[in-house]
């Protein structure tokens, strides 16, 4: 068999990690350059990830570290699903890093950039790893850097949210570790494929208890309904660039890890019915809580909860089209929410307030920022021709393809939440464009380095909304990889 040469995916993790630790050294050498390090790192990741696409579409890339044969070595499994997320992460990382060039003005910038890189490196590690303990470790890298970044501004809200997030997150990781321990105690392996091979179906209670521990642990990071109390605080108190990454990437990575464990390791079909409800409840609670918010970032944070609920719902349909819908919704949520938070960041910077009512007349003062914000909201509500429509469309289609009354009822609930979502987002649009502000100061657009990433996000939203077919093949293979446990096993264990 002819070997295809490709860049080693380990670099996806290694390069940003190395760069992250170069930053403090560089600080003494050339301080001005440090803010470009994340840009370079994630641009590298983005390019590498994209070049890997054609290879991954044919077969998964397995990278073994630490020698020996598969179950006993630490390995990376770069499948379509993982690569898809890693592209999303590096894309978001790259664009948000550009945004941060001007946006991050206060505090110790060195620390910001280190933590930012660590956060996303952790995220890439989580999606690419093939080993549950490594998953835990990367997860902790992600979590700890996000605890710190939430409190980065050092103001009252940031510190408070950060400590609350830390407490809940630590409990989550402890529970995850307990779950990993329980699994290891039974099967003596940490390799996901090996575990999956040993666990044919999840039936005994001894499997369910670790599963529950792991779900709860990951669920905290994935912000599923009763476990998501940290999210509104953390996302609203962090700097907007970090909120964008947390909302667009961190929780989705948590969700991905959870789904990977559920689908690949446990193959817990019967649990999906429960997750279906959990997803819808998460959606409902998130959107309802967002409905009467006056703080824009809190509103966006609650909306993220809602979106996560929708993604959980889509994954829990547990069909190929459902999973495709879920992945597509992940992509669309990353783009939308990142765009919204980025636009909001400069709007808050401009008005000095997070109250929605203070955004009056910003449509005139910051026309482009307001326009991008509007595109983001339209997309997140699911209006064509934006990407949010395509993803919601896929989810509805997948749910209705089940042809069960239950799904029709759940979809009715989802419609209700979309209506609520529309209500609060359109209210902001009205505030931006159709309410006169008292302040008559002149036009002052966001910084150009902020507008470029926003523009790219908006462009992607529009293009993917009109031509969703371009990524459908990739998404389909991601969905089938996640759904089809056996092929995953075969690709890893050989």
């Amino acid at each position: 068999m002819k070997e295809i040469t490709y860049i080693n995916p380990v670099l996806l993790i290694a390069v940003p990690l190395a760069l992250a630790f170069i930053i403090p050294i560089l600080k003494f050498v050339w301080e001005k350059s440090i803010k470009w390090i994340p840009v370079a790192g994630f641009l590298f990741d983005l390019i590498v990830s994209i070049t890997l696409i054609p290879i991954v579409l044919q077969k998964n890339i397995i990278v073994k570290i630490g020698g020996t044969t598969t179950p006993f070595s630490i390995n990376l499994v770069v499948g379509p699903a993982g690569l898809l997320l890693s592209i999303m992460i590096s894309l978001a990382g790259f664009l948000v890093a550009i945004y941060a060039l001007k946006y991050i003005q206060e505090g110790d910038k060195t620390k910001y950039h280190i933590l930012f890189m660590l956060l996303l490196t952790g995220a890439i590690g989580v999606v690419l790893t093939g080993d549950i303990f490594n998953l835990f470790v990367f997860f902790e890298v992600l979590c700890i850097s996000s605890y710190a970044l939430v409190g980065y501004l050092g103001n009252r809200a940031g510190i408070e949210s950060s400590i609350k997030y830390l407490i809940q997150g630590s409990i989550g990781s402890s529970l995850l570790l307990v779950g990993i321990g329980l699994i290891y105690g039974q099967y003596g392996t940490l390799n996901m494929a090996d575990l999956a091979a040993q666990i044919k179906t999840a039936d005994s209670i001894s499997l369910f208890v670790p599963m529950f521990f792991m779900i709860t642990g990951l669920g905290i990071e994935a912000a599923i309904f009763p476990l998501n109390s940290w999210l509104p605080d953390a996302h609203s108190s962090a700097p907007s660039s970090i909120s964008a990454v947390l909302s667009g990437i961190a929780i989705e990575v948590g969700l991905y890890a959870m789904m990977r464990i559920l689908f690949t390791i446990f193959a817990a079909e019967s649990f999906m019915g429960f997750l279906l409800f959990l997803g819808v409840i998460t959606l409902l609670i998130g959107e309802m809580s967002a409905f009467s918010q006056n703080n824009i970032k809190r509103m966006l944070a609650y909306s993220s909860i809602g979106q996560i609920g929708l993604i959980v719902f889509a994954f829990s349909i547990a069909t190929a089209s459902g999973l495709s819908g879920g992945f597509f919704q992940m992509i669309s949520h990353t783009l939308n929410k990142a765009l919204l938070f980025l636009a909001t960041g400069f709007m808050i910077y401009r008005t000095g307030s997070m109250e929605i009512s203070s955004f009056r007349g910003l449509g005139k003062k910051m026309p482009l920022t307001a326009l991008f914000f509007t595109i983001g909201t339209f997309s997140i509500i699911g209006l064509p021709p934006f990407v949010g429509f395509a993803s919601k469309f896929l989810i509805f289609k997948a749910a209705l393809a089940k042809q069960e009354l239950l799904f029709i009822i759940l979809i009715a609930v989802i419609i209700l939440t979309t209506v609520i979502e529309g209500a609060y987002f359109f209210r902001i649009i009205q505030t931006l464009y159709f309410k006169e502000s008292d302040d008559k100061s002149s036009k002052q657009e966001s910084a150009i380095t902020a507008l470029i990433p926003m523009f790219i996000f908006a462009l992607l939203i529009l293009i993917l909304g009109i031509y969703p077919n371009w990524i459908m093949k990739f998404i389909h293979s991601a969905a089938s990889e996640l759904l089809n446990k056996m092929s995953y096993l075969r690709s890893v264990l050989g």
Binding site: S229, S270, F291, I415, Q430
Partner: protein, 613 residues
């Protein structure tokens, strides 16, 4: 591909207007007029064509554009009214800031509606439907202030509707494996009745909301009255008729005659809804004191006529429904434009109680309004007469006198509110503050003139539009009507406009001659009135105020928009509930920890005890 290029051209044009408007303010108006006129021309040139093209592939769905007689008629109406209202906007929008945004959205709405009627499959139908919804939202919000809650109402209703339609489309797709309209119409007969009814209900919510059928009408009055007037004309004239188009498409093209009227009870329910939609809004319109709100309620009522026509399901009624759509588009647009002209000259006053006597100041607008009102009432020799006649006739002859009663009494209500509108704006005393009101500018007069002419033209020669409509109903599977140039021939009562025209003309000439032969009268001032010796106060009060006071007293006690009140109450309730829900995020970490542990504990407990999973 010409259709596709046309749409692309239009969208690009709309953007061009926006960006050109930023740098060259003059160009955007010219561009808007030219583009809308070209669209009208394109569509007009497509007459008689019948084809469909695949233009895009969206998530595995093939998207089509198609044109045939049915969509051509709607497309022509859309582009025509779009063109006229953009001309009207030239002066209406002249001194408003940010009108590039307005023109762009105006074109967006028109293109989206064009897309709806040209859509050859349900997915592109839905996509254009949604584009229409949000661009309409932006336009309704345009005037700020009280327009904001109105547009919120609109967009929320609209989202509900479009989502339920989306579910309907996907449900249908699951059953038939296609969304292409021409294929659906063949496959649909293999589906069982229950599914068809379910789909019809889902679609009916969407179309009913757009068409403002009664339990879904409440967005319309505020939206119509708060939108800029040229857009109100579009909104009332064609945008809500997209619901009509949808119903026609669903009932007659997709599902087909032989199935839809064998669904038990469905048509009865729809007809009763239509009757209610005629009566209540009519009487609510009488109570209104805001000119545009009055017209808005009238729109709801007239939409009820159209809905009645298309759901009653005989060839006469369907033809009448489509014809009434066309007519209503024309005369209601005309009336909104006339009110817009008043609003423009009075700097935004449209309160009927404070206007009056404008006939001396704006005679042309008065004439337009009068002709529009005559069409609305349906007086013979105007277009509204023929379409209403068709609907009444079939209702009576097919044994639905109660529906006919609703329709006929609705007409009398129409007289009352139309007269109130005319009287309170144009007749009666001219308040002193309006002494210096100017005539409407030419760019406002021109669309009004064209529309007025069409009203009379169609009223005298109903055969011309009816021939197109005949082709449409034949394509639905009906027998063609026996249409002559001046009316309709059938065995149970003919309609012949030429008789009426001739008689009117002769009598008119005779009476005028007779009248002129009398002693010449003297023009007097408006205050030179007979008051049985008493003094007529000036400026003290306006007796256009509460014109139908006795009726108001009588109706006000029980006639309210209960449905709107109900919706508003439930919205408030939901808001309250939502506010309560977020209280679970207490802010205390201990409780959050408790949630986490409870979640874990419940999962384990449930599995241990009942082995659910």
């Amino acid at each position: 591909m010409i259709l596709f290029y046309m749409m692309i051209f239009a969208f690009v044009g709309a953007f061009l207007i926006y960006f050109a408007g930023k740098s060259f303010p003059r160009i955007k108006e010219i561009l808007a007029v030219v583009i809308s006129f070209l669209l009208f021309l394109f569509v007009a040139l497509l007459y008689g064509k019948d084809f469909q093209i695949n233009y895009h592939n969206f998530l595995g769905f093939h998207l089509f554009l198609r044109i045939n007689m049915f969509s051509w008629l709607f497309a022509l109406t859309i582009t025509f009214l779009g063109f006229l209202s953009i001309i009207f906007s030239l002066s209406y929008m002249k001194d408003k800031k940010n009108n590039a945004f307005y023109y762009m959205n105006m074109l967006f709405v028109n293109i989206a509606m064009l897309g709806i009627v040209l859509a050859g499959d349900l997915i592109s139908f839905f996509i254009f439907w949604e584009i229409m919804s949000w661009s309409t939202f932006l336009l309704i919000s345009y005037k700020k202030g009280s327009a904001l809650p109105a547009s919120m109402k609109y967009i929320i209703m609209s989202i509900i509707g479009s989502l339920s339609m989306l579910i309907g489309i996907l449900y249908l797709y699951d059953l038939t494996d296609t969304t292409i309209i021409s294929q659906l119409s063949h496959i649909i007969r293999f589906i069982n009745k229950g599914d068809v009814i379910f789909v019809v209900i889902l679609f009916s919510i969407a179309f009913g909301i757009k068409n403002a059928v009664i339990p879904f009408h409440n967005w319309l009055p505020p939206a119509h009255s708060e939108a800029p007037s040229p857009f109100s004309a579009i909104l009332s004239g064609i945008l809500i008729k997209m619901g009509v188009y949808g119903f026609l498409l669903l009932f007659y093209v997709i599902i087909g005659l032989d199935i839809i009227f064998h669904l038990t009870g469905l048509t009865i329910v729809l007809n009763v809804l239509a009757a209610i939609t005629i009566i209540f809004p009519t009487f609510l319109a009488i109570l209104q004191n805001d000119a545009k709100r009055l017209l808005a309620w009238s729109t709801v009522a007239q939409a009820g006529y159209i809905f009645m026509g298309i759901t009653y399901g005989t060839e006469l009624s369907v033809a009448g429904g489509i014809f009434h759509f066309l007519n209503h588009a024309i005369f209601k647009a005309l009336m909104f434009l006339a009110v817009g002209a008043i609003e423009y000259r009075t700097k935004g006053i449209r309160d009927l109680n404070s206007l009056g006597g404008f006939i001396k100041k704006m005679p042309f607008t008065f004439a337009a309004m009068l002709i529009g009102a005559m069409g609305l009432i349906g007086l013979p020799l105007t277009n509204g007469f023929v379409s209403k006649w068709l609907i009444y006739k079939t209702l009576i002859l097919n044994g639905s006198p109660f529906l006919a009663f609703a329709a006929l009494i609705g007409t009398w209500g129409t007289i009352l509110y139309s007269y109130k509108l005319i009287h309170n704006i144009f007749l009666g005393q001219l308040p002193a503050k309006f002494e210096n009101i100017q005539k409407a500018p030419f760019s406002m007069k021109m669309p009004m003139m064209i529309l007025s002419t069409i009203i009379i033209f169609f009223g005298i020669l109903p055969g011309i539009p009816l021939q197109f409509i005949n082709k449409i109903i034949v394509s639905f599977g009906y027998h063609p009507l026996n249409v002559s140039l001046f009316g309709i021939v059938s065995d149970s009562g003919n309609l012949n406009i030429i008789n009426i025209l001739a008689a009117t003309f002769v009598i008119g000439v005779l009476i005028v001659l007779f009248f002129r032969s009398g002693r010449k009268s003297v023009r007097v001032d408006q205050y030179d009135n007979y008051a049985a010796g008493s003094f007529i106060p000036k400026e003290k009060y306006s007796y256009t105020n509460s014109f139908y006071a006795p009726l108001d007293r009588f109706l006000n006690s029980f006639l309210k928009d209960y449905i709107d009140i109900f919706y508003c109450k439930s919205a408030a309730l939901i808001r309250h509930f939502c506010n309560g829900i977020r209280k679970i995020y207490t802010g205390y970490v201990g409780s959050y920890v408790m949630y986490i542990l409870l979640f874990l504990a419940v999962l384990i407990f449930v599995q241990l005890n009942w082995s659910v999973f």
